[in-house]
Structure formats: structure tokens, C-alpha cells
Symmetry: C2
Subunit: 706 residues, 2 copies
């Protein structure tokens, strides 16, 4: 039996696990990722990519792949019974709310998304980091005496490498890929017993980890080791899913559609890449399993929540699903070809009450929240879980920040999961219920009110976009300079706004705006200059410093401060590392570009590296471009050109602070970083030596030296 140490062990290589691996590869953090299956999935599963997810993909350099390969889903159509045995289109809505993001929702199958992550991981790690498959975790033990020691490896996980057959999940109906029997458990108990007798079994490895991430799905083994049980409920609504190319005279088959039939249930249409369409089809009558059949899979409390019995999946075939679809869509005709995948599920909403243990073991994604798939949330929220967590673990594992910041994972993401569950609870009931008669206002007895449905859909799309997640005050978010501002549309939504930046919400993601590079006049989305590479950013909105002498003074003061020895940025940057490798200062000024000279900016804002190469990609201007118009960034962010502001943005793109220009603001920012950063006295730790010297970032800019 092998034995080894690793900083982070990720269990499960679905979207949540791969997002974590991608972060660790990107930041040069020591990690491993294992998955019990032999290969990534090739069809089916999740398919929707929300606005915020696309923003994050863009920040890792592969947003363009999504935009190019996926179907762009722009419009929702609502179809209702017309009372005469037919259906009519009752409304159209944009699928993504205009202006909410640079991107709109797109759809394509999960296997492609996993490929992009694998390609990115290969790139960041120079080909060294790989998913280890099929590898099953069989035992997890924690030495509780060591959990507070940042240098300790208190968790021991016994890993078993399976042979190919063991790692290949059984699929029911071998001809068509389906999700009915997708998850397989592996017999951990058996391997554990074997392990006791077979200490020199080469297929076993005892891994000592500082941190373990459970990204192992709804039946999470890691969650069970933590002793955490899901809480929530199941419903009587059963839905089938079918990925195929439909042959139909239904005119809106390439739109997202919510179709309520009078008596036969509902359909959601999700048009996909390459002419495919996913149909979510309500199955009104489905044979059920006796409830006892699921006992081996779930804890006892969970079992209680599923009193109504699970669907007997063996009875569900593409034909059964298609028959239901035809009834709902009648009088329109429906045939299908190119069936790629199908599955069925019973709607339920469940969430784990705890997302971590000892700030050492964490669960993410389906392992801590499961719900109905129709709003396209599961994969997105799962990836956002580990997008929130992994950079924090990286900072702690590399000795840059204190373990204190790990508390913010649960405090930030548990609320998101709970909001998701509440959203899905309402969404799925509105979707699965019978519709009211046409023209009815309000809830007509048993029926679902159209008005309620449409308005919930519109509001729901804001939530579903992933862009309005708002993290609370914590060691990583300082809302003290902001005021609570209730939103006009929904008074329950309260933003925290500094008067210095009236359209930047502290705690939400830093939205993008087009700005112009001072050195070469190229327009950039500002966030494309703030990639997810592990760095904090201070965006120095320096204002119109050529016209306002006070702003010019503050710009020069900051230049001197940053060049000086007392700079907090230097304090938290490892000796020998690049000056901008932990906290980067980007300048966005508001003077005219052609009235501003390169020499107007102190060298600290355009530093040279050890070889003398200058960084020409740190100074931007809110000005007209030759070909793409004016970004009006100051207006978009609500920043006064004669006042300016510092905006502190976390490595994951969320706004930590908005503070005034000059000494006062910098002192407060220094204090903020002092709350969790660790003074650096030794050179940086990185897993992949060449991580920062591969030559170029994702958008053609150089990666300079130290």
C-alpha cells in the first residue's frame, strides 16, 4: 500500500470537482482529483450555462468555447390550453434579462463543459495534472488534534484503484445512454475489510491531506463520512427527460418553451446545440418502487422525506416519455430522431445543513443541494460552490492567508443553496400544477395562474442568471462603507451601496464595462483584464486626474506609496514573487486618452519586471474607441469622474470594498487585508514550476517575469 501527502484531495470529477481542480491548477496549488468512474460522461446530464457561469468561464479563458459551440437560448415562449382542445402562445419573454450580464444563457451537454475544464487544467499544469480514474475512496479518518495546525495533514483517505469494469457504471438499455442508473456506489465496506488484510495491496493508497473536497454528487460518500444528512422533501411530480432531434410542426421548438396542457401535464422545451432539443416532460402516471428499496442509498432521515416512494425506473423508456409528450403537445405532432439520452426523476428539494467539518472537509454541488433540473441551476450552482471555495483553500494551503477565510465558504454558499431550494420549490410547483383556464386572472381554484407563472418566471430569471448572488459581511467582504438600498422591482432585494459607486453592490460580483487600454487604444471588457488567476485586484478609478489637481495628487501619492517599503501589498507578497502576483493594482482613469501621456503615470502603475519588460496592460481609460463606441464605464459603475474610488475585488470577482481615493482609503484597505492575510517571509510555493512563465495569458497578453 502506497502512502503520500497532498494539500488538497478532490473526490469527484464532475463540474464541481473540475472547477476546483481548475482553480488549483491555475494557482499552482498542490492537489489531486480522483473519480470512481472510468471516463467522463458523453451525453445527457446538465446542459444549461447561466450568465454568471459564462462570466467565470471567460475569466478562465474559455468563455469563447461555450459561445461558439453551444446553442444560445434567447427567448421563452409560454403556451397554454386555449379551452378548445388546442394550445396558444400566451407570451414571449427574453430568456436572459437584458443588461444583466455581458452574456446570455447557452445550452450544450455537460461532457463538453468537462472537456473545457480538462483542457484548461492541462494548460495550467503543463500537462502534469490529471483526473485519476477509476479511483474509489474507501475510508476517511481525521486526526482532530491537528485540525487547527495549518501545516498538518490531519485527514487520511484510503483510495482504491478499481479495474476498468468496476469503474464503468451499468447503463440500463445499452443501446441508448440514459441517466436512470447512472450513479454507482462501489462497495466501500468490502474494500475497507480487504485493506486490513492487504496492507501491501498495490491498488490501495493512503493519502494524507490537508483538505478534502467532496464533489461526489447527490449520494456523496464524503457527506456520509462527515455524518451530515440532507434535509428536505420530495413531491409526487415525476418528469422524464429526452434529448433528441424532434420532428414536429410545433412552431417554437427552437425556443425555450413552458407548455401547460389542459389535463396531460407540462413540457419544458430546451433547444440545444447541433439541432438537438431537450424535452422535460411531466409523467402523470408512473409505477413506483416500494420506498424500502432506496434504504441502502440514503440515511434514515432522508428516507423519511421520500415517503411517497420512488419511481420504478425500469419501467420508464423513451417510448413512455414520448407518449406523454405527444399528449401534452397535442394537437401538434411530435416524432423524434437521434435520441442521445433520456432519464426520469421525481422532483424534490433537499439541502445539507452543514457544508464543512473542521474547516478541513467540504462538500459542494449535488453533495449538498439537490432539486429539480428545469431551471438549469444544478450544474451552475455546483460550479459556483467550488469557484467560491477553492481559491480560499489555495490561499491557506500556500500560507498566504489564515484559516479564518475558510469559514466564509459555508456562510456564503449555504444561503445560496437555501435560496435555490426555495426558488426551485416554487418554480417546480408552478410548472407541474394544472393551468388555470385561459384569460383567468389570479389562481383559478386548482389551476396555476398564468400571471403568477409569467411574473415568477421573469423574476426567477434574475435569480437563475447567477449574477445577483450577494455575499454577507465577513472577513472577506467589508460592507461598512455601504448603505442598504432596497430595489425598486423587489423590495426584498437589498443592495449595499457606497455613495462613491452608486451602481456597484458590495458583496456582489464586479460587473464588467468596456474600457480602453491607455497604451494601445484597444477596447477591453475590464473583467477580461482581471482574469481568475488567484489575484486580488484594487481597481484604482483615478477619475479625471488631468483636470482635477486633487486627483492628480492622489494618483501620485498612491504611486509613491506602492513604490515604498511600507506598502501592504509588498507585505503580503512572497519575497521573490512578482510585485502583482498577490494583489494587482489596475488603473481606470477618466481623462481624455489623447490628452494623457504614458509618462503621466507613476511607474508603480506600469511596473517593469526583472528583465526590464514594462507592463502595458494595467492602465485603462473610460473614453471613446475607434470601432466599438464608448463604454461609459464611470457612468455604468456610478462613479463620479471628479471623485473616483478604489474598488477591491476578490480573486473570484466579488466586490469586497468600495473606498475613497487617497491615504484614508488605502489605510482602510490595508486594514481589511490585515484581517486575514499573512506577512510573507519566504519565497512562493507553487506546484507547477512553470505556471507563470508559459508566455501568454488567455487573451494574447504577455505574462511577465518577477
Amino acid at each position: 500500500m502506497k502512502e503520500s501527502n497532498v494539500d488538497v484531495l478532490i473526490i469527484g470529477a464532475g463540474p464541481a470537482g473540475l472547477m476546483a481542480a481548475n482553480w488549483f491548477a491555475r494557482t499552482g496549488t498542490n492537489y489531486r482529483i480522483v473519480d470512481k468512474r472510468s471516463s467522463k460522461i458523453f451525453a445527457g446530464q446538465a446542459d444549461g450555462l447561466q450568465c454568471r457561469t459564462l462570466e467565470v468561464f471567460q475569466s478562465f479563458g474559455f468563455g469563447d468555447r461555450a459561445l461558439k459551440e453551444a446553442n444560445h437560448m434567447l427567448e421563452i415562449s409560454f403556451w397554454e390550453p386555449d379551452g378548445k382542445g388546442g394550445l396558444y402562445r400566451s407570451a414571449r419573454l427574453p430568456d436572459s434579462i437584458p443588461g444583466i450580464s455581458r452574456f446570455q444563457q447557452v445550452v450544450l451537454h455537460q461532457g463538453r463543459i468537462e472537456s473545457w475544464f480538462l483542457d484548461a487544467i492541462r494548460k495550467w499544469s503543463g500537462g502534469k495534472a490529471k483526473v485519476e480514474r477509476p479511483v474509489l475512496p474507501v475510508r476517511l479518518e481525521v486526526d482532530e488534534s491537528k485540525v487547527e495546525d495549518p501545516d498538518a495533514y490531519p485527514i487520511s483517505v484510503l483510495l482504491k484503484t478499481l479495474d476498468e469494469n468496476e469503474g464503468t457504471p451499468e447503463q440500463f438499455g445499452a443501446k441508448i445512454a440514459n441517466g436512470l442508473f447512472r450513479s454507482f456506489e462501489g462497495d466501500q465496506e468490502k474494500y475497507y475489510k480487504d485493506a486490513k488484510n492487504l496492507a501491501n495491496d498495490d491498488s490501495l493508497e493512503l493519502v494524507h491531506a490537508k483538505y478534502v473536497m467532496g464533489c461526489d454528487g447527490a449520494h456523496s460518500w464524503v457527506r456520509r463520512q462527515m455524518g451530515v444528512e440532507m434535509e428536505g422533501e420530495s413531491t409526487d411530480y415525476v418528469w422524464g427527460v429526452l434529448d433528441s432531434v424532434p420532428i414536429t410542426d410545433f412552431p417554437d421548438i427552437r425556443n425555450r418553451c413552458a407548455i401547460h396542457s389542459a389535463d396531460s401535464g407540462s413540457i419544458m422545451v430546451i433547444p440545444r446545440e447541433q439541432g438537438l432539443v431537450r424535452l422535460y416532460i411531466q409523467l402523470r402516471e408512473t409505477p413506483r418502487d416500494p420506498a424500502t428499496k432506496t434504504e441502502s442509498e440514503m440515511g434514515k432521515n432522508e428516507q423519511k422525506a421520500i415517503e411517497k416512494g420512488r419511481v420504478d425506473r425500469s419501467k420508464i423508456t423513451p417510448e413512455v416519455i414520448l407518449d406523454n409528450a405527444r399528449k401534452i403537445l397535442s394537437p401538434y405532432k411530435l416524432d423524434i430522431t437521434d435520441i442521445k439520452w433520456y432519464t426520469a426523476y421525481q422532483i424534490g428539494q433537499r439541502v445539507a445543513p452543514k457544508f464543512e467539518k473542521f474547516e478541513r472537509i467540504f462538500i459542494s454541488g449535488d453533495a449538498c443541494h439537490t432539486h429539480s433540473p428545469k431551471a438549469g441551476q444544478g450544474m451552475n450552482v455546483s460550479m459556483m460552490d467550488t469557484f467560491n471555495l477553492a481559491w480560499k483553500i489555495a490561499y491557506v494551503a500556500k500560507g498566504l492567508a489564515s484559516r479564518e477565510i475558510l469559514k466564509t465558504y459555508e456562510s456564503e454558499r449555504l444561503g445560496v443553496a437555501q435560496a435555490l431550494i426555495a426558488f426551485d420549490h416554487k418554480f417546480s410547483r408552478l410548472f407541474s400544477g394544472k393551468p388555470a383556464l385561459p384569460g383567468a386572472i389570479g389562481n383559478d381554484g386548482d389551476g396555476i395562474s398564468l400571471d403568477e407563472f409569467h411574473s415568477f418566471f421573469a423574476k426567477g430569471n434574475e435569480f437563475a442568471s447567477g449574477t445577483i448572488v450577494d455575499y454577507d459581511d465577513s472577513v472577506l467582504i467589508d460592507k461598512s462603507a455601504g448603505k442598504a438600498v432596497a430595489q425598486e422591482i423587489d423590495k426584498d432585494v437589498v443592495l449595499t451601496i457606497s455613495p462613491l459607486a452608486k451602481n456597484i453592490s458590495i458583496g456582489r460580483r464586479f460587473d464588467t464595462a468596456k474600457v480602453i487600454n491607455q497604451s494601445d487604444a484597444r477596447p477591453w471588457y475590464l473583467t477580461d483584464c482581471m482574469l481568475s488567476d488567484g489575484r486580488w485586484r484594487i481597481v484604482n478609478f483615478a477619475g479625471d486626474f488631468k483636470q482635477v489637481p486633487e486627483l492628480s495628487k492622489k494618483l501620485n501619492w498612491l504611486g509613491e506609496y506602492l513604490a515604498g517599503e511600507s506598502s501592504f501589498i509588498k507585505k503580503y507578497t512572497p519575497p521573490g514573487a512578482k510585485v502583482d502576483s498577490v494583489i494587482e493594482v489596475l488603473t481606470v482613469h477618466a481623462s481624455k486618452r489623447v490628452e494623457t501621456e504614458w509618462d503621466d503615470f507613476p511607474l508603480a502603475f506600469r511596473p517593469r519586471d526583472c528583465a526590464g519588460r514594462m507592463d502595458y496592460w494595467k492602465i485603462y481609460v473610460d473614453d471613446d474607441s475607434f470601432h466599438e463606441g464608448h463604454g461609459h464605464a464611470y457612468e455604468k459603475y456610478g462613479i463620479d469622474r471628479e471623485v473616483g474610488a478604489y474598488v477591491v475585488v476578490r480573486p473570484d470577482g466579488y466586490v469586497s470594498m468600495v473606498e475613497p481615493l487617497g491615504e484614508e482609503g488605502i489605510e482602510k484597505i490595508a486594514g481589511f487585508f490585515g484581517g486575514f492575510m499573512i506577512e510573507q517571509k519566504v519565497p512562493p510555493r507553487t506546484m507547477f514550476e512553470e505556471i507563470e512563465t508559459y508566455g501568454a495569458d488567455s487573451y494574447g497578453r504577455p505574462v511577465l517575469g518577477m
Copy 2:
């Protein structure tokens, strides 16, 4: 010795040869491509991609790679002597003229561009098509009795596979890649003699080809076999080129700059990807070779043109070039790091008087035009040569069109080459000449007038963009419906315009505009729905057919005509091939999208394939979008919403005709195709069986069946 047949043999795998190979792979045409070098280039050479080239890359599905990896060059700065020993910025201009194209000029090294082609070729051919290296052509013979027989293989080329050492060009100064001794000739005479004695030498292959394309550079072996000699002249101006990361206090180093010094010559600055900068540096004093030294490389007529002697390249080092640069740039300082490549060249302009022989052997790119590199034209015009030629050869080789269309290669491209030579002649003299004193109006004695220089630069950028190439009337371009319209800016530029489409120039490339897909509300650039896949397009600008009954009648008439047996499109489509595989009809209407139903369009505009899959990607509308505004396509093209028009677009994106809607227009279009298309009676010929069934086009849309 092996012996084989091939439809097309391409000699030379630089950008021109790879563009041809890409076209043939894309269209499933039987071809081979050989190159005498062992590997593609890794540094240096050409680096500018003009607007039209990017449009073409986009049409092959990899424009995004250029936009992502390359440096976007937006601004030109002009620097002149200030008369006090210094330099001053005399003007700024946009590098690409705003509105001239969807794209702006970008720069990165040629090796990356070749990679995109190789990736595309791999994709289109399912991995089957490869560049054969190092393979040297040693003999070419034509059986003149067979050149008019479309099924014959009248050209025999003897190919010699070299060993790796023979195929690796010697580089002077092994530490730094340079272009001084890049081209190597191979000793064809020797191999030919060997061949006579060694008929069973396995390294030799006798290839019988229908067509041969010489894409083998300035010293083209194919051109010499054709007996064609370059015509033109050389100048006394010698320039060095240096790719490096500059360390300088010159403020505009990330702009394209034209810098004239008072006495030390000129520099052109080309900022590149990854922080690199290419400097073109005039070398005032350079040792020359005796002219006789070049005799083995060139024909005798060419020799005469180079009376002044060539540069002694062995004396040119990076240090020599840098020293010149420092003098020109003074008083600004210049150091460099990361030298990637350097070379030197003597400015000359030469063009071949003939581009083909027997309409069987063709030369393209540097093989038929060479000039100064500073306007970034060489690689672009070279690729546009074969982009113009290869689809025509594909049509003839596949029996779809008569050999008549091959005449249009020389008639269309010789004029472009001559215009290029004239442009470069003026451009390089303005650049290399001494500047006038500051503030001087007009040409001050020996000096170059600033005004003349700037205005030529601005006009030149229109030419350089590649978007204003205008092909004459021919079997492939019918200008009869157009009127000559002289342009306001330059009266010498005369467009041919139909009153039906006031902003579409017949003979020029079909420019793009944003339209909305009728079926799913997605905005597309119309040209992204007209990819370079070998198909002709008839764009049916159907107008506001919901409001104008006459237009509705014409739409329905065309639907019936296309569905009927007498359709000319059916006549020219091989039996068993997809209905849209030779000529595709795209509809762009001008009614409101939400007032138009899918069923309003006859099935011919939204055909089903053999499996019943419907094509939802053929009907577009000029309307508002949810997120990207209104494309105003009718306005942009100058088409009246109440009149409409048919626009016939060639496989390479050039406008062949603009004709009126309805029977009259269709009759004229049918007559046009009748001029060169061949009625199809047998199933299609394709090299790669699965070419049209790989599932998706480059932008996520399906490729449907027959």
C-alpha cells in the same frame, strides 16, 4: 518508384498552400500537399492579418482564434523630427478604417496562423489529410494533348522524399532564428539525374495530377517550370526586421508607429502578441554582395532588375539592426530582450506577367508577387490568391462546373497583384525617404511631405484592409444590372451598384450585417450563416412580405419554384446530394419577427432532410434583438423593405449579381449559372466520406442529412 493519380497537387505549405489545402479539405476535393521543409515555421516571417483575411478565417470557423491570440493593432502614430534633434508625434490615425469591416487588423506570427489551418484541415478531413514533408518536386511534365479533357491527368510531377537533414533549412546564427537564409532550393537537377538511373528508388514518386498549384514562394520552382519570369525592379533601400520585447521610454511602443528621423532613416513599429514588438528598421549603410552571387537563384531577366547588388546578409546581425534603430529613435532609449527572430531585406517590387498555364498549372502568393513587407500585405494577398482559386478548381475537379471558370483566377488576381505592387512602390518610397522639415507644406526639396505621407497612409489602409478588392465582369460576376458609381473620396474608385441594393457593390465581397434568426431570436452576423463550405448562396431579401401583398406572392412563387422539378438549383445538384449542397437559398425578410409565424414560409425555405429533421437556420429577419440592438441590415445593404432583392454570392463571398425578386430575377440567375455549371446526373464525388456528417458546423448548428 511509386506512381499515383491525384486531382490537385499543391506544392508548398506556407499560408497560400495551406489556404488551398483547407479549401480542398473543406469541400472534400481529392488533393495532396507537399513541402520541401521538415517542419512549419516557428518564429518570424509575416505577422499581419488584415480585415478581409479575418473575415475569411471567420468563414472557416477560426476567426475567433485570431481575435483571441493576436495583438489587436488599433492606432497608428506618426513621429517626425522636431527640428531640435528630437521627435514629436505629428498625428494619430485609426489603423483600420472604422466601419470598413466587422474586424480590425491584428498581428501575430505566421506559425500560429499555419497551426489554425492545420487544425482546420485535420477537422474537415477527419484527420486524413496531412502535409507531406520534406518532399521536393524534381520534375514537371505536361501532356499538352490532354489539357482540355476535364477527366485527364495531363501533368506529371516527380516527387522526392528527402531525409530530415536535407529538409531542414540552414539558419545563420543558430542561437536566434532568422530569415536571412530561410529559403533553400534543393538540387532538383541532381535528383532528376538520379531518378533516371533509379526507377525503383522508393523515395521517388511520379504523381499524375489534373491540377498543380505552385505555392512555393518567391523563388518558385513551379514558376520556373512554367517558364514565367518575374518583372519589376529593386531599390537601394535596405531594411532590417527585429522581433523582440523592447525596453524603452518611447511612449507609443504599443502602437503601430511610422517614425521618420532627420538623418538616420525610418522605423515602423508593429506591436505584437505576448508583449513582442516587431521593428522594421531602415539600414542606411549595408555591405552589398556582388550581383553575380544571386544568379543561381533567379532567371536572367530578373537578374537585370537587381543591378544594384544584394545586401551581404552575413554581415547583418541583431546588433547591427539595433544600432540603426537606436539612432533613429534617439533621444528615446532602446534596449531589447527576448529576441525571437530577425532578418533583412532590400525593397523591390516584382510581379509575374502570367499566373497560370493551360488553366492547369497555377502560381499564387510570393511565387507571383513580391514586395516590401511593411504594409502587412504579402501573406494576406497570398492567402486571398488561393482562396480565390481553390474553390474553382474544386468545382471543376468534382465535375460541377466547366473549366471556363478557371480563367477567372488570373483575370481576377493579376489585377490585385499589380495594384499591390503599385501601392507598395509608393508606400515604401514615402517610408524610406527623408522627411521634410516640420511644418513644411508639400514636398520640401528632397524631403517627404508629411501631409502626403499621412493622406497616403489613410487611403492605403482602405486598400490594405483587403475589403475593397473588386472583381471584373466574367462568367462568375454579372455586373449588367449595375451602374458605375464613382466614389466620393476617390473618383478613381468606381463601384458597380444595382438600384435594388444601393450599398452592395457587385464584384466586391458581400459585407456582413446582423440579422435575427426567425426560429429562435438569436442574432447572427449574416456572413456567419454563409460559411466557406463550397456553396453558392442566393440571399432572398424577401422584404416586408407581411405588409406588401406583392412580396408575399413572390415569396410563395419562389417557394413553389424551388420545390418544383424545373428548379435550376436541382439541375446543378448531384442526385442524392442534399438539396442545398451546391446552391443554398437563405431568406432575410423585413416584417416584424413576432408578427411572422414559422408556417408563413413555404417549406422550400426551411427544408427537411431524409430523416425529417428541419433546417431552422435558413430564415432570418431584420429586426430588433433582445440584447444586441437592431442590425438595420436592409438599411446597411441599401435594400428597400418594400421591394427586396436577390443577391447571388459566390462560394468565396463575392457578389455575383443583384437581381429583382420574382420570376424575372430567377430567370436571369438561372441563366447566369447556366453559363458555367454542369447538369448533374451522377452522385457527388467527395474525398472524405464523412465530410458532411461530422455533426455540427463551426458555430454549434447541425449539419443535416440528405
